[in-house]
Amino acid sequence: MSIKIENLVYKYMIGTPFEKTAIDDVSLEIKDGEFIGLIGHTGSGKSTLIQQLNGLLKPTSGKIYIDGEDITSKDINLKKIRQKVGLVFQYPEYQLFEETIFKDVAFGPQNLGLSDDEILKRVRRALEIVGIDFEKYKDKSPFDLSGGQRRRIAIAGILAMEPKILILDEPTAGLDPKGRDEILEEIRKLHKEYNNTVILVSHSMEDVAKLVDRLIVMYKGKNILTGTPREVFMEIETLEKIGLAVPQVTYLVRELRKRGINIREDIITVKEAQDEILRLLRRDKND
């Protein structure tokens, strides 16, 4: 499902001394099935932007089309939009509230008025996607689980709505490296399997370098840069100026090039760096 944003402006606390433009004339298009990474420093407008995409915030001006439908129009059915656009907030585990894991994940589908069979099917599938054993956990309290597991349950609650567009706001913040890798792998698999549109908000340049098709960079409420991770991470100076960074390996190849070593500069993952350095060292040996 596609997203089209036209001249979006969002101001908050209008008419007070604290009036601030959080989104400043953003226009962008996200194609059906694209995996997008949304980056920008704290306060750059990322979270404000994604909250517009399922109607939680109404733009001050501008238009947002989800699958061709203008969701900023007055007579829009927001419930239908929220079914299409699933939003996983930061620290979603704090939103768990039910007695059992089954009930918590089933809450969304139940509100869609689905049959019991369909609900069961969806809860089972959602838990499977996030790597939680349905039979073992369905009757347990979500509050008896570890933080990483609770987060998965919360994500499953959104997945059970089967949104065509899935937006995740820093889904790995505060998780240990293993928990982080597992959740990112689940998101990657989900995207590959269902080819839904995914928007991942992240502060980890290494993670988005590995995962996404395209990056959208926000700064002071504007979309200042967009392109593949490889294209965007070549803009080291711009990114650093706006409080971001590039992956460690990208810094590495830049340093190597400064020392006169002829290595590709557009390297963004450890695997690529490894292959390139091996090629470099072996080529010398063969000379």
Binding site: H41, G43, P177, G179, L244, E255, L256
Partner: protein, 283 residues
């Protein structure tokens, strides 16, 4: 041990989980021995649930051990008459800055601690200014905290602890919610406080690039300390670290992968500069 700031002496900690019928005990710490010396900068890593935060909460007597002792600069945390001395000596900073800021103006927030110590106003003024200066936030003294960035808020939280004049600061994932520049700001502040003010630092983090900067890295697993040493020693044990569900810094990982491919590169590389030097040497 005269030079010891925080001493955990074979500590155990049981959480009581009460269900309707049974009281279940879960053991969060299973015999932790760790001596943090005065002026040291240590980083604790370990996966979620390994006991890091439980240990941290023992250091300023939010929790007291079920067995064993925690000694903060000579004071046992079980001695309730020393509670306020201990909390003044060992300050804590948590993950979410929004949960730690209590006032509506930055300098009032920083003054909250010393006010509660009953310090005269003119001295509070001095402490607040010094604390804000130390975290490079003096220019924001009259701002509302809600208008600051995450990194700035976290530095205000650190200033609030500094105004208590602690000798030791324990930070539990202070950078988890921050963007790259916010992480850098907070880490630089921590390092400066350690080097210049000689404040003992215990930093809990999931970012291995931060652990590289410590004097000593302590790895926890299942309520115990399973590995400790200099960052170089600890991270060169790539397989063991990965088995524990942790990561090594990217450069260490890269060196490890190159070695697997028969490249004779040092295995204890931590930083980009070291990697650059090694590759130039090999070429």
């Amino acid at each position: 041990m005269e030079d010891s700031m925080l001493l955990a002496n074979n500590i155990y900690f049981y959480y009581k989980k009460s269900d309707d019928e049974k009281i279940e005990k879960s053991i969060a710490l299973k015999g932790v021995n760790l001596n943090v010396k005065k002026g040291e900068f240590i980083v604790i890593i370990g996966h979620n649930g390994s006991g890091k935060s439980t240990l941290a909460k023992h250091y300023n007597a939010i929790l007291v051990p079920s067995n064993g002792d925690v000694i903060v600069d000579g004071m046992n945390t079980k001695d309730s008459s020393k509670l306020w001395d201990i909390r003044q000596k060992a300050g804590m900073v948590f993950q979410n800055p929004d949960n730690q800021i209590v006032a509506t103006i930055v300098e009032e927030d920083v003054a909250f601690g010393p006010e509660n110590l009953g310090i005269p106003p003119e001295k509070i003024r001095k402490r607040v200014d010094e604390a804000l200066l130390a975290v490079n936030m003096l220019d924001y003294a009259h701002h509302g905290p809600h208008l600051l960035s995450g990194g700035q808020k976290q530095r205000v939280a650190i200033a609030g602890v500094l105004a208590m004049r602690p000798e030791c600061i324990i930070l539990d994932e202070p950078t988890a919610m921050l963007d790259p520049s916010g992480r850098r700001e907070v880490l630089d502040t921590i390092k400066r406080l350690n080097k210049e003010e000689e404040i003992t630092i215990v930093l809990i983090t999931h970012f291995m690039e931060e652990a590289v900067e410590a004097d000593r890295v302590v790895v926890m697993e299942d309520g115990k300390v399973v590995l400790e040493g200099s960052p170089r020693d600890v991270f060169s044990k790539v397989e063991e670290i990965k088995r524990l569900g942790l990561d090594v810094p990217e450069m260490t990982e890269l060196a490890y992968e190159l070695r697997k491919n028969n490249i004779n590169i040092r295995e204890d590389i931590l930083t980009i500069e070291e990697m650059v030097d090694e590759i130039c040497r090999l070429k």
